[in-house]
Symmetry: C2
Subunit: 315 residues, 2 copies
């Protein structure tokens, strides 16, 4: 068995169990990608943002890349595919923290938390806001995979009617109705909340146009927790300036970090989260919980790892 | 049939159905309590804050008070009981909006929404916060009635372990464990979130002492959405100054409005909501949905109205 090279440092209390559970393995840890270490690695464990195409020439022994993240857009997909390197990720790891973030934002808006915080800052007792309720509303989830299912499950617990839109239109878990993405426009008028969790692919880039927002209710909340390029930034800004919808909650952007001169910063009908809705103090622990069973399989010669991805398709 | 006197004005679209469903009834609406109108009323519909003992001498015909609120502390209980006036309220109406408020606050803290809002105000892209997760934690609900059950139901959907403490210690819906209020202290150390929804009674006044907060985890969130006098304000301030717990979320206070010189305003480990966690733009609509079936019963001579209360016991 060769070396496992981590391009990040887990906490000591998370590293020790690795050593004791896998005594036959050499572990290397770093806080950046070093080509000399990469040259020794059979397995690379990375957040997926450091590996570039030019590094692969040094990675002679590399057979498996474990990406402790969901997005792999920054990885040299074609070069990896050409080398037949297996890629797996931590799909599913985000579903609970991300669902909690999404619900936090929805409930905060419905129950006027920004108003409450503002009054508290001013030390003012002020009830002059109109809290509304989530229960009884309708949510449309664009791209209901593992994360969408978890969002649907929780929304249903809040008595929200859930509509899913996916490529096939096939039934999806925790969706009361599911339709084809091609028919998205005709279902948008029903939704009080529209949540995109689409990944970035050729098909999803700029999938949402101004016309989609025109179909939404004036009172709709639009949430983008997938990838920023599902809607052109200028289109989105114009939609919000024109108040076609009531509010947007964005965690992802076409350009990240969001440039400091972006007009998005100037709008008051948007919440801007810096692409960390799935962050969690329990993240590395959870990644290792997914990595370890796969590593056991790997050491047994099995190659049907959990969350194996098609790097060229992007998911 | 006599007159029904509302000391508030429902919206026109909510009043019209009353007229058409109950053509035999005379309705009077006002925005305050007027003794001349009260003198004609067989039924009084009030938020419960306007009726004073001295008014009752004019209320010769009064037989039923429908309180469109949960709290009746400001009502002249003994005088009402002496006159054998039936009192019913809108118990249950608060459970959904209040549960949504409570979850909004919990999730906002776990998913660092105050930090996100602050960075956005500064127009700064900043990920330097540590979001945590709700799932997997333990919540202790003090006083798990209708509202507590709804909170428990939603918390369980988030994979939270729920512990209830009530007077009897009898099993309560959506509580994984239930204990007697007398044994509260020994269960506090288990909880990540402690939620009081106790009403104000002789038994609950200042029920929580500094010792209770000493038993809680340092990382605990304490939420008071019941009544403010469950803990002495100075004790609570000291607890927060001494950082015995991580954060408090308060919707209720011993003195309301919270005095502008209260030290609570100066603390940064507390969220202060101005006693409107159950407010909702759908509130009056919902109150009338509870009132109308009872009114039908009343007109049929039935007196076993929904949510009939024991005004002397206070619930």
């Amino acid at each position: 068995m060769g070396t496992i090279y981590f391009t990040f440092e887990p906490r000591e209390d998370l590293k020790q169990p690795l050593f004791s559970e896998f005594p036959q393995v050499d572990f290397l840890f770093d806080t950046k990608l070093d080509v000399e270490k990469l040259a020794q690695a059979e397995i690379l464990v990375t957040y997926g943002e450091d590996l570039k195409e030019q590094h692969l020439q040094y990675a002679d022994k590399l057979q498996w890349i474990f990406v402790a993240s969901a997005g792999i857009e920054k990885m040299p997909a074609e070069a990896i595919a050409k080398r037949n390197i297996i890629v797996s990720n931590v799909r599913g790891i985000h579903k609970k923290p991300m669902t909690e973030s999404i619900l936090a934002h929805i409930l905060a808006l419905k129950r006027v938390l920004p108003f409450i915080y503002e009054q508290q800052q001013k030390k003012e007792w002020n009830k002059k806001a109109r809290p509304t309720e989530l229960n009884g509303s309708t949510a449309l989830i664009i791209g209901p995979g593992a994360i969408g299912g978890e969002i649907g499950r929780i929304l249903q617990a809040f008595d929200v009617h859930t509509i899913g839109c996916n490529r096939s239109g096939n039934e999806a878990p925790y969706m009361d109705e599911t339709y084809k993405l091609d028919d998205l426009k005709q279902h948008l008028p029903k939704a009080d909340i529209v949540i995109s969790i689409l990944p970035s692919t050729k098909e999803t880039k700029h999938l949402l146009t101004r016309e989609h927002f025109e179909k939404m209710k004036n009172s709709a909340i639009f949430m983008n927790f997938g990838r920023g390029d599902v809607v052109d930034t200028d289109t989105l800004i114009k939609v919000l300036q024109d108040k076609l919808i009531e509010h947007a909650v964005l965690d992802v952007y076409e350009l990240e970090p969001l440039p400091s001169d972006s007009l998005l910063w100037d709008l008051d009908n948007v919440t801007l989260s810096p692409h960390f809705s799935s962050h969690s103090s329990r993240y590395v622990e959870r990644s290792l919980d997914i990595f370890k069973p796969s590593l056991k399989k790997w050491l047994n010669g099995e190659r049907d790892l959990e969350n194996k991805m098609d790097i060229l398709r992007g998911y």
